[in-house]
């Protein structure tokens, strides 16, 4: 017969570990805040702050998307709709504030965006969350296409192709922040990104957040423990729309322009991709994905006209080799970390990584040279590649890059199993005495 006593004792113990856990959790947030405050002082290139602003917005957007995909199991092709609508509404409100029609300091604008996202998520969610799976995905696709096209047709609200512009410097200043520099905006975005991330993390630990996981796993059973799967999905959907709207509001502040493109299918596709390569199964996944994706998207194009090709190859490689995303790879190493054996992995990983790099150099070299042959002006046969200049008319660079690619691949075939073996070894649980 059960006596409540042992359970209570255990509960008390758990209380203690829970408290430790909570402390650790707060620690993470405090550390994140410290890093965000310090970053602009460390990264001093002029491009760093604009790129970090972009990343901050993407992080909020991707996290909101993962509330649907990772937490709620809803694959959406139209999440940018709520980002865009939130942004448009924020831009219009900012314009009103600029004209003195209403009083609203810029730092509160993301809330307006969030409200806009929420209202429209509630509207479209009311009929699209009835089902999960493909039906949901396809309705989101239809809604996405409809809204993106409407943005070009409904000229007055969406401003047609050139969109709606606004001016954050004209709105009332708060605490002396007039947002005329990117740095001001950086701190605004950093604050909201952190706040939104904390709230989204908290949401996943609320009853409805937990039930979103349950409904994702087994909608039928969720109904038999008292929850309507439709309502659970609807609440998640609205929350995701809210935070997408916050991201849209941040976008309005940062870029001071909203266009139809922000609501389009490619914007919705990007957020899916960044969330996926980051890792849908982990809270940190979308953050990693957004940072990496944004970085590649805005920096890769400085170096090559074929950056999309490399991005495509990255998707393929991610799906094939690290299907749980970058966060998944990191988390796989938790056992090895706990066993304090990460050091043993350094050698094999370094070797495999180096060989992987060799393959990449070879492949990139070949592709870039083909690109030169196909599209450069006649006579321009020289190409700067990896800090050297090669001439595509001569044979040796072709040979060299091909050799690198093949040799690297052969080496990797040998080194990868070694690394995998080392990983398995290191992840073995420590024998308890």
């Amino acid at each position: 017969m059960s006596t409540p006593a042992p359970a209570t004792v255990r509960a008390l113990e758990l209380e203690k570990t829970a408290r430790a856990q909570r402390l650790r959790r707060y620690g993470v947030w405090i550390a994140a805040a410290a890093i965000l405050v310090g970053l602009p002082h460390v990264l001093r290139t002029p491009v760093a702050i604009p790129v970090m602003n972009q990343m901050g917005i993407a992080v909020v957007f991707a996290l909101s998307y993962n509330m649907l995909l990772g937490q709620g199991g809803m694959l959406s092709f139209g999440h940018a709709v709520y980002f865009g609508l939130g942004g448009f509404i924020a831009a219009h409100v900012l314009n009103l504030a600029g004209r003195g029609v209403l009083y609203l300091p810029v730092p509160l604008l993301p809330l307006v965006g969030g409200l806009g996202g929420l209202v429209f998520a509630a509207l479209f969610g009311s009929f699209s969350t009835t089902r999960a799976g493909t039906v949901f995905a396809m309705i989101s696709l239809g809604v996405g296409e409809l809204m993106a096209s409407s943005a070009l047709i409904l000229d007055k609200f969406f401003g047609g192709e050139e969109g709606i512009t606004t001016n954050r410097a004209k709105a009332p200043a708060l605490l002396g922040l007039d947002f005329t520099t990117d740095r001001h905006v950086y701190y605004l975005i950093a604050f909201w990104a952190l706040a939104a991330a904390a709230m989204m993390s908290a949401f996943s630990r609320t009853p409805v957040g937990r039930m979103a996981n349950a409904v994702r796993d087994n909608p039928e059973r969720a109904e038999f423990v008292g929850y309507s799967q439709r309502w659970v999905r609807f609440v998640s959907f609205c929350a995701a729309g809210l935070f997408a709207g916050v991201a849209g509001g941040l976008f309005a502040v940062n870029y001071e322009i909203l266009t139809a493109e922000n609501m389009g299918l490619s914007a919705s596709g990007s957020v899916l991709l960044m969330t996926y390569i980051g890792g849908v199964g982990y809270f940190i996944g979308p953050i990693l994905g957004a940072v990496i994706f944004t970085f590649l998207q805005s920096m890769l194009s400085d170096y090559t006209g074929m950056w999309l090709l490399y991005l495509g190859i990255l998707f393929l490689a991610t799906v094939l080799f690290v299907p749980a995303g970058f966060a998944g790879v990191l988390m796989l190493h938790a056992p090895a970390w706990r066993a304090r054996r990460l050091g043993r992995l350094l050698g094999p990983y370094l070797l495999a990584g180096l060989l992987g790099l060799v393959v990449a150099v070879g492949v990139v070299g070949l592709l870039e040279m083909i690109h030169v042959v196909v599209s450069a002006p006649t006579g321009r046969t020289a190409k700067r590649l990896f800090w050297m200049t090669v001439d595509v008319r001569t044979l040796w660079p072709w040979l060299a890059f091909a050799t690198l690619a093949v040799a690297g691949a052969v080496g990797l075939r040998w080194a990868a199993p070694q690394a995998a073996k080392a990983f398995t070894e290191a992840s073995r649980p420590v024998e308890t005495r």
């Binding site: 995909l69 396809m138 696709l141 239809g142 299907p323």
Partner: protein
Amino acid sequence: MLELVLFSLLNGLVFATLLFMLSSGLTLIFGMMGVLNFAHAGFYMLGAYFAYTLTGYLGFWPALVVAPLLVGLLGAAVERYGLRRVHRFGHLAELIFTFGVAVVIEEVVQLAWGRTAKSYEVPALLDFPLFRLFRTSFPAYKAFMLLVSVGIFVFLFAILTRTRAGLIIQASLTHPGMVAMLGHDVPRVFMLVFGTGSALAGLAGVIAGPVLGTFPGMAQVLGTIVFVVVVIGGLGSLTGAFAASLLIAIVQTFAVALDVSLSSALATVGLRMSAGGMLQDLWKVTIAQVAPIMPYLLLVLILVVRPTGLFGTRET
């Protein structure tokens, strides 16, 4: 008016058959493997580009056969060496994988053929007006397109209903788990279906290239319309895909002819909308203006009312 209706109908038919060629493969892939194949339009594009190059060496007619075969082989290879490995990671991984394939195809096409549009032309043999009625002529090539897709439809139906492979495919459409238990090599069937689907998309590209243009954005122009057809028709239903192709093509074609807006419609019944406010455009937009987005409206409406699509039996 008769002229407009007649030719709209004919054009609608031609467009419908093109849609069907694309969606037939996709619906089988979707229905059997549950994969939202984003690379499908990419294979369509490859078909057009392969045919463009092959036409230069072999002429149009051999290219008509060879290009789809090449695309089909490529599709089968993508399934065999890519999708099959990804399959165990779930549908989402498969979707991202096909998305990656789509991006790579589009970029490789630009790498190989350059970024400008290609002058892939209607073959001389078919480059004449078949008949002329009133002021409009109907090109022979379009009649040829009609003929080919009707042929494809008959061929597919025969395969699905008369052959052993077809029966296996049908069985796996309705009872996905059962076929493996009957001792059939499911991965092989998947590869075949994926290859055939890609080949059909390639064929659509070969045929549509000269009419709709052969350029790097051709896959994107087609965009998601094929998904719309497949979903409206019902996942895995060939008949559904056929009906939905017709429906969408006809709706789109005839919507273009309708210069009616909400305000003009209201005006005929005596209501006057005062134009004003942020959404004033909503009243002024004509049906013709929104014709190309009608399919998406249809998609949402149909899915809300009937989640299985018109002819489907399953939801996912």
